[in-house]
Structures are given as C-alpha cells and as structure tokens.
C-alpha cells in the first residue's frame, strides 16, 4: 500500500510536461483537418475585424486631431446663417478693436468676406474663392507664406492679392511661373500679386479649401463685389479662457451689434470633442462587430471540439486505459482549442493590420499601429478559444474510460 502511494506520487510529479502536452495537442489538431480550418476561419475573421476596425478608428481619430491641431483648438468661427426671418443686411466689416475691448475673453478676431470669382492672367483663367481678409487672418489660422508677404494692416484698399498654391500652379504655364509683382485680373480690376501661401491641410471648420483661394485686403472687396457682406469672423479665445465660454461671450456681443441676424459660433474644441465622441462611437460599433464574429468563431471552436470529443471517444478511452488521468485528457483538448484560437488570432492579427494599413493608405492618412487594438484583438480571440474550449475539454475528461469501448 505504501509502495503504491509512492508510486502514485512519483507518477503525478513526473506527469507529461507542458511542452509534451502542447506537441500532443498539435498532432491532435492535424487530425481534425478541414473542420479545424473552418473554426480557424471564424477566429481569424473575428480577430482581424477587431484589430483592423479598432486600428482604423484610432487612425481616423488621430487624423482628425492632427488636422485640428494644425490650427489650434482655441479658434472660434462665427457665421451668420441666412433665413427669411433673419434677412437684415450685414456690414462689410467689423471694428475689431471695439470687439476685442468689449469681449475680453477673445484676443484676436478677423472678419472675412468670401466670393466665388474668375481670375485671369494672360490667356489663362481659373475659378477661385476670393477671400477678403485682414492681416490677423493668416496669424489666427496659422497660414504661412512661402514667397512674398501676406496682407498687412496698411494695405487697406490696395489692389494686392495673395494666391493659394493651387491657384499659383493653375495660373503658371510652361515657361512663365506666377511670380510676385505680376498682375491678375479679377472682375474689372487688376491686382498685383504680393505673395503666395503655403499649403494648409483641409480643415472642416473653414468652408473652402484655402489652397484654391486668392486673398485680397477686406476693404478691396468692394472692387470685386460692390455692397459685399461679411461672411464670417475667425476669432481666437484668450489663452486662459475656455473656448466655449469665449464663444458665448462673443455671440452675445455680436447678436447685440447685429440685430436681425442670427449669429452662430463654432468652437474648434467643441467640434473636436464631437468628432472624438463620434469616432469613439464608431470604434465601439466596429468593435462590437468584431466581437460578434469572434463569438461566432468561438462557437465554431466549441462545435469542432465537441465533435472531436465525440469522434474520438475511442481514443479518449484508449488514452485513459494507457494511464491518462482525467486532467491529462482535459489538458489535451483544452490545448487543442488554445492552439486553434492562437493560430487563428495570429493570422487574424496579420490580416487585420494589413487591412487597416491599406485603408489608411486609401484614405491618405498617416498609418500607425494601435498596440492596444492588437492586444485586444489577440487577447480576446485567444481567450474566446479557451472559454469555448473549456467545456468540451471538461466533458472529455469526465468520460468513463470503459464506456468508450461499448461500441466495439
């Protein structure tokens, strides 16, 4: 009896090692062939979905943030929506000094007027947005010039023009590129080119691509469009102020100043928060989609493992007769499920990253790998495998050794 116990403990202490169990499980999986492949596909799709979708969501959020950060989050855009009830005419300009004195939470403001027009030079013409702007406009939105200069406070009603890069390209032909000092015709007036701006990334807060614009002094706008009206005001909140509060103050002041017109103010920060919320919701949705496919994959794994247990009852009986303990049988089947889901999630990770990369390339975004998406994808796929593999494994280990032989 004592000898027996010693025997037993020697056995359990020196049972098969983990590596041996893993090798055994892999050889078991090879026997499952195409059915294992089907379950694998579920796991692959699930983890690929989760990884690519979360990654795309992250990339999108980052891309939006990048666009905004190029302009800053303290910017405010004032607009005057037109409707039959609010059709009072707007002035052509705004006393900026007065605005800044009355609204201390705003440190800078630039009224602009925008009009579409044709610009001619030599035999060429191009449709552009004419933006009547003041010197502070470029400073507030972070627009820089690559040649020449921007409109200065002293330009007032001068016929000077600063062209966007796309316009400069369109008006250049073969031998003669557009240079500062050259003249353009807008309507009945000739304007002298004094500068060219750098490319500014598209910004959802600004109505049109600034690259396709020609900037002229705000007061010269009357040459292009007699009786022009203010289109919007770009403003900057004071550094210590909450942009939302500054927006409220500015709106109150402008509404009083311009009775009969609606005043709407968008704060970049608010817009950014909204977009972040949106992209978070998008991520959750995509994640849920991935989770569902993963769940289906998990059910697939369970299905395959249960079929495998049923099909291999004889094998389980033989293994038990040869000395496998219930826990050895459980380990065998659990490891098969884990191998299956681990392979699946690794493949899915590669696929998911590849898809996210292609998507980013297609959208012209900067691609970066969201490591947490990778961790979530692989981790959840693997744990789904374990979770769904556990039941068949326990079922297998609970089989009585002898019942397996009854069929024979």
């Amino acid at each position: 009896m004592v000898a027996m116990r010693a025997f037993n403990s020697a056995h359990s202490a020196s049972g098969p090692s983990t590596a041996q169990h893993v090798l055994e499980a892999i050889s078991g999986l090879r026997g499952l062939r195409h059915r294992a492949l089907l379950a694998l596909l579920g796991i692959v799709m699930g983890s690929a979905c989760i990884i690519s979708l979360i990654n795309i969501g992250r990339n999108a959020a980052q891309e939006m943030a990048r666009i905004f950060q190029s302009m800053g989050t303290d910017k405010l855009v004032v607009q005057f929506p037109y409707s039959p009830q609010t059709k009072a005419r707007l002035p052509g300009s705004l006393d900026v000094a007065q605005v800044l004195r009355s609204v201390p939470s705003v440190t800078a403001a630039a009224p602009i007027a925008v009009k579409s027009a044709k610009v001619f030079r030599g035999g060429r013409s191009v449709d552009v947005s004419i933006v009547g702007a003041t010197a502070s406009f470029a400073r507030i939105i972070g627009l820089s010039v690559q040649r020449g200069r921007f409109i200065s406070p002293f330009d007032d009603v001068e016929t000077f023009a600063v062209v966007g890069p796309s316009v400069a390209r369109a008006l250049s032909s073969g031998g003669s590129t557009l240079q500062t000092g050259m003249t353009l015709r807008i309507g009945g007036y000739f304007f002298t080119v004094i500068g060219m701006t750098d490319t500014l990334p598209a910004n959802p807060m600004l109505p049109n691509g600034l690259d396709d614009s020609v900037f002229i002094p705000l007061n010269s706008m009357r040459r292009v469009q007699p009786g022009y009206e203010l289109s919007s005001v770009i403003a900057q909140a004071a550094p210590e102020m909450d942009p939302g509060d500054a927006a409220k103050d500015l709106k109150q002041y402008l509404s009083a100043l311009l009775p009969g017109r609606a005043v709407e103010i968008q704060a970049a920060q608010q817009l950014l928060d909204g977009l972040r919320r949106q992209s978070r919701v998008l991520s959750y949705l995509l994640g849920a989609l991935g989770a569902i496919s993963l769940l289906l994959g998990g059910v697939g794994v369970m299905n395959v493992m249960l079929m495998s247990v049923t099909e291999r009852r004889k094998e389980i009986g033989v293994r038990m007769a040869l000395g496998a303990r219930p826990r050895d049988i459980r380990t065998l089947f659990l490891l098969e499920a884990i191998c299956l889901s681990a392979c699946g999630s690794a493949l899915g990770a590669v696929l998911g990253i590849a898809f996210a990369y292609l998507f980013a390339r297609f959208c012209d975004w900067q691609f970066f790998l969201a490591l947490d998406a990778l961790a979530i994808g692989i981790g959840s796929a693997a744990s789904i495998g374990v979770f769904f593999g556990l039941y068949p494994a326990i079922a297998a280990s609970r089989l009585e050794p002898v019942t397996q032989f009854r069929d024979f």
């Binding site: 025997f7 056995h11 049972g15 033989v318 038990m320 496998a324 303990r325 032989f405």
Partner: protein
C-alpha cells in the same frame, strides 16, 4: 485479513450491473477471483457472457457495483481516478480485441504513448518503443500508421504497447483472434515467455481452447458467473471441478 504478498488480483463477491431503460441489467454476478503473481490465466466464454467486462474490471477501467477488488494491495474502491490512472499506466498492459491503436500516430508513437503519460521525454519514449517493436520483429514498420499495417502487424504493435511499460499484469482480449494459427502460436509463446521471465501475470480472454489449454489456470464465464475449469500444477493437468 492478511494480505498475501503473492496475490496480485483479489476480487471478492463482485457484481456489476447497469440500468438501461429503467431495467437493471446484470453483467457480472457475485464473482470471486484470486490470481497470484506470474500466473497465466485464460478466461473463456461465449460472446456476451461478460468476459470482456470482467477484463475491464480487472484492468481498473470499470469499478464493480458491489463487492471489493484489491489490486496489488490497493483497495480500488477507495482509490481516486488519478490513482487508478496511475496504476493502469505503471502496472497494467492492455491488449484490446480490436487493437485500439490511434490512427493518426505511427506504430512507434502508438507504442510510446503509455510512456507519455509517465512523463518521459520523447527521445526516451521512442527509444524504448523501438526496442519493443524490434523484439516483435516490426522495427522496419516503426514509421507506418496503423492503416498501413496488416491485422497481424497491428496486433503485434498493440502487444508492444502493452509490454513497453514492463507491467505487472497483462490483460489481453482475444490477442490472437485476428491471426492465423502460426502467428497466434508465436504471440502466445511471447506472452508466456514474458510471464516466465519477468514474473508478469497474464490474463488472456479467448474462445480458443488450444490457447486456453496452454495457460496455467482456465476459467469459464457463463452468464456473468465464473468458474475455474482447470488448474495445471507443475506441468500436469489437474482438474478441480
């Protein structure tokens, strides 16, 4: 009750029954059996008489419903599933009626499988398995899968798997059922030789009287009951019935 060191199998008043469709089906009734170390026994009986079930009971694959079974000093009714698995692994070698080789594994790995559950490394498992295949003249078939082997070859692989652990007890269910007369004789001679040389107890379930006669003790199972029909003492037949 004194424990006799020489007694390997001590089955007392064992019965086995199961319930099927609300009816109690009795497979074994009130069986008592004592087998000493190194004895060779044959169990004969018609199909369905319960001899395979008896073999499963002796091999710790099935606990009797009532009665006691002491195997090599271990009271099996008190043992855990792990302990029984360990005893099967260390002390019992099975040769099943339909071989029960694992189809995915090569002959070599089939023979090595019991050693896996002993925790031996693959190299040693394979070395020992190969030695046993050689002993049975199958070393050139080591890498073949069971489906690529003949019935006789499968039978020998199954026997190698039973011998590879150097068991105290070999339980063989119709070990020669699939073989021609000559091969059957060889297999039997091998089992008897192992018994003689390593003091291994061999229990053979068979319906072949020629094979039964070469064992030291012969039992017959009739409708779940056991009786000893013949016992050879020092080479001479002496029927006790």
């Amino acid at each position: 009750m004194p424990v006799d060191k020489d007694v390997l199998i001590d089955l007392r008043d064992a019965s086995l029954s199961y319930v099927r469709e609300h009816q109690r089906v009795s497979v074994l009734e009130n069986l008592s059996l004592r087998i000493a170390r190194a004895e060779t026994c044959a169990i004969v009986g018609k199909s369905g008489s319960g001899k395979t079930t008896l073999m499963h009971v002796l091999g710790l694959l099935h606990r009797p419903t009532c009665g006691t079974y002491q195997f090599n000093g271990l009271q099996t009714s008190a043992a855990t599933a792990d302990e029984l698995a360990s005893v099967r692994n260390q002390q019992i070698g099975f040769v099943f009626q339909s071989f029960h080789l694992l189809p995915r594994l090569s002959a070599l790995d089939n023979v090595a499988l019991p050693l896996f559950y002993r925790g031996l490394g693959q190299r040693e498992r394979r070395a020992r398995a190969l030695a046993h295949l050689q002993r049975l003249g199958l070393s050139d078939r080591a890498q073949h899968r069971p489906a690529e082997l003949s019935g006789g070859q499968c039978q020998r692989v199954a026997i190698a798997r039973a011998l590879v652990t150097d068991p105290t007890l070999i339980l063989a269910d119709e070990p020669t059922g699939n073989l021609d007369q000559g091969s059957a004789g060889d297999i039997l001679a091998l089992l008897l030789e192992v018994s003689r040389r390593a003091a291994t107890t061999v229990v053979i379930v068979t319906h072949d009287p020629l094979i039964a006669r070469r064992c030291k003790r012969q039992f017959e199972v009739v409708e779940g009951r056991l009786r000893e029909t013949s016992r050879t003492v020092d080479g001479s037949d002496a029927s006790i019935q």
